[in-house]
Symmetry: C2
Subunit: 324 residues, 2 copies
């Protein structure tokens, strides 16, 4: 195998110079650069990235933490994050937390030991304990504290748009269907925007807004609709929740969208384009969110930018067959 020494000999420079070239250290002469470049090409030399990582303390590796890559929104997001990272020669380590704070903690501990460069996290657990370290971190859909950078879609406006869409098509009594998180979570703002728009339009509002996870969905929905039969539009915190609600409504003999309109949130390709679902939903710009997350994390890693960055990307209502 070709070594750095072989490259140095062929280029007529020292091993230190080859190392500086490989680590993109400044101050090398144009002539030296081209000699080393040529020697590397001639000898088909592959720099040992691992040894390089040890020296520069950079492993070109970012961890993506998701609750579970099973979920269509997370798998779509993971796809794009990997795309943008690999375009910058970074690798992505994927971790499923399974909504288990302990697993997440152990996992993050493990990867930090391996000198990863940064973490992009979709998490509904309290990640504060990891982010207090000096590992660059970007949160998705969560604000933790004043110092944590995060990226989310414009959840508040999404809620507003959901209300507007159903009201425009005749709904007069809207309900929100979601779950709470014990930690501050930007997805709660979906409800806030939804409720604000309804209040603004002076219409009545109701909600099922439970602790996470929501149990007995069918039963809870049934009770609510018996108690309040005027409800004619439901906005659900996610598409997955919307699909469950639609199924429960159908079981109860309620027609969607004729009797009750339903709007979800996420707009994952899997649900949006599924010919058998065609859910009306608020579409998150998942590719743009991934691109922004990668841009912010690489800026923190490579330029040591420690400013807090908060980005809300615009969303759009997608009419499917569950609204009129």
């Amino acid at each position: 195998m070709t070594t750095m020494k072989d490259v140095a000999r062929r280029a007529g420079v020292s091993v230190g110079t080859v190392s500086r070239y490989i680590n993109q250290a400044p101050g090398l002469k144009e002539k030296t650069i081209s000699a080393v470049k040529q020697a590397i090409a001639d000898l088909n030399y592959i720099p040992d990235e691992y040894a390089k990582g040890l020296k520069t303390n950079n492993t070109q590796t970012v961890v993506l933490l998701v609750p579970t890559v099973w979920h269509p929104f997370f798998s779509e997001f993971a796809y794009y994050v990997e795309q943008y990272l690999s375009a910058k020669n970074y690798k992505m380590i994927l971790c499923n937390s399974d909504h288990d704070p302990q697993k997440e903690q152990l996992y993050v501990q493990m990867v930090i030991q391996n000198k990863i460069d940064g973490i992009i996290g979709i998490t509904y657990n309290d990640l504060g304990k990891y982010t207090t370290g000096d590992i660059p971190f970007v949160s998705i859909d969560r604000y933790f504290d004043e110092d944590t950078s995060y990226i989310s879609s414009d959840n508040y406006d999404g809620g507003r748009q959901a209300a507007q869409a159903m009201i425009a098509k005749g709904s007069k009594y809207l309900m929100y269907f979601g779950d709470k998180s014990i930690f501050a979570n930007d997805t709660m703002r979906r409800r806030d925007g939804f409720r604000a728009e309804i209040t603004h339009q002076k219409l009545p509002y109701d909600e099922i807004y439970d602790e996470n996870p929501l149990l007995n969905l069918d039963e809870r929905l049934h009770q609510k609709l018996v108690a309040n039969p005027q409800i004619d539009g439901i906005f659900c915190v996610t598409d997955a929740m919307a699909r469950k609600v639609i199924t429960a409504l159908k079981k109860q003999g309620i027609e969607v969208p004729a009797q009750i309109q339903v709007v979800g949130y996420d707009g994952s390709k899997a649900y949006r384009e599924d010919p058998q679902a065609m859910l009306s939903t608020i579409v998150q710009p998942v590719a743009e969110m991934a691109e922004a997350a990668v841009k912010v994390i690489l800026d923190k890693i490579e330029n040591k930018n420690d400013k807090k960055i908060a980005i809300h990307l615009p969303v759009k209502f997608h009419p499917g067959t569950t609204t009129r």
Copy 2:
């Protein structure tokens, strides 16, 4: 930060002994082990896994190569592979090849430079060029050559079960709907088993069996059904294909399953449990496949087992609402 030297001093041993303990080298006395263990606990010392990797040439990292993690089967598989790997303190680097041989090649090149320990690959490209190296490799659903280990579901039996299920419910003229790969691919055996069962039962057989990817699905299906209106059962190479076929049939005013039964292959949770789809399908044992893949790759990495291993795991027909 606590160093190995601090641990050595506290334990009253040499740095080399601490290193041997961390690298689980044999030959240490029970007393030495417990002293080092205690010192590590007292000082809250975190071994630098990265430096360790450089020494032992093991990074506790496995790459999972999938065409795209978007696809429900692949995301489910990725989920389980990560579960089984992290249980063994291995990390999973995820790579989406996008069915692009060049991207795949560049990516594999990049990770090999980083001294990853092994690759689990779901790929429909010719990976031979990587597997000729000495990186442990396990293929999913693909056999490349005599030397490559692979794991797949029992595709042949799955095809047989699909035929049996539709024939049992009255289908008399069955068709296969799939695509070809220019490389040997175990998924082709789905067709082989399907056709063999139909031939065995002395029934007629038809197929749409195209180059990958299949274009103009609607038009091709329409032409086929006009030319051959007796077709009353279709087995599709994947669930995703089955969903497209069902949508095309509905557009043409054909009732599923009353006029034509449809069976898919994969049985991803997303499609199988989706209340709005309820696809009849052949279920791959995805968790067991992931477990087997991790077991085989770790055996190759840790025990240098270079024997070829071929595992076919059993499948099961899942009746949904697209068969009678």
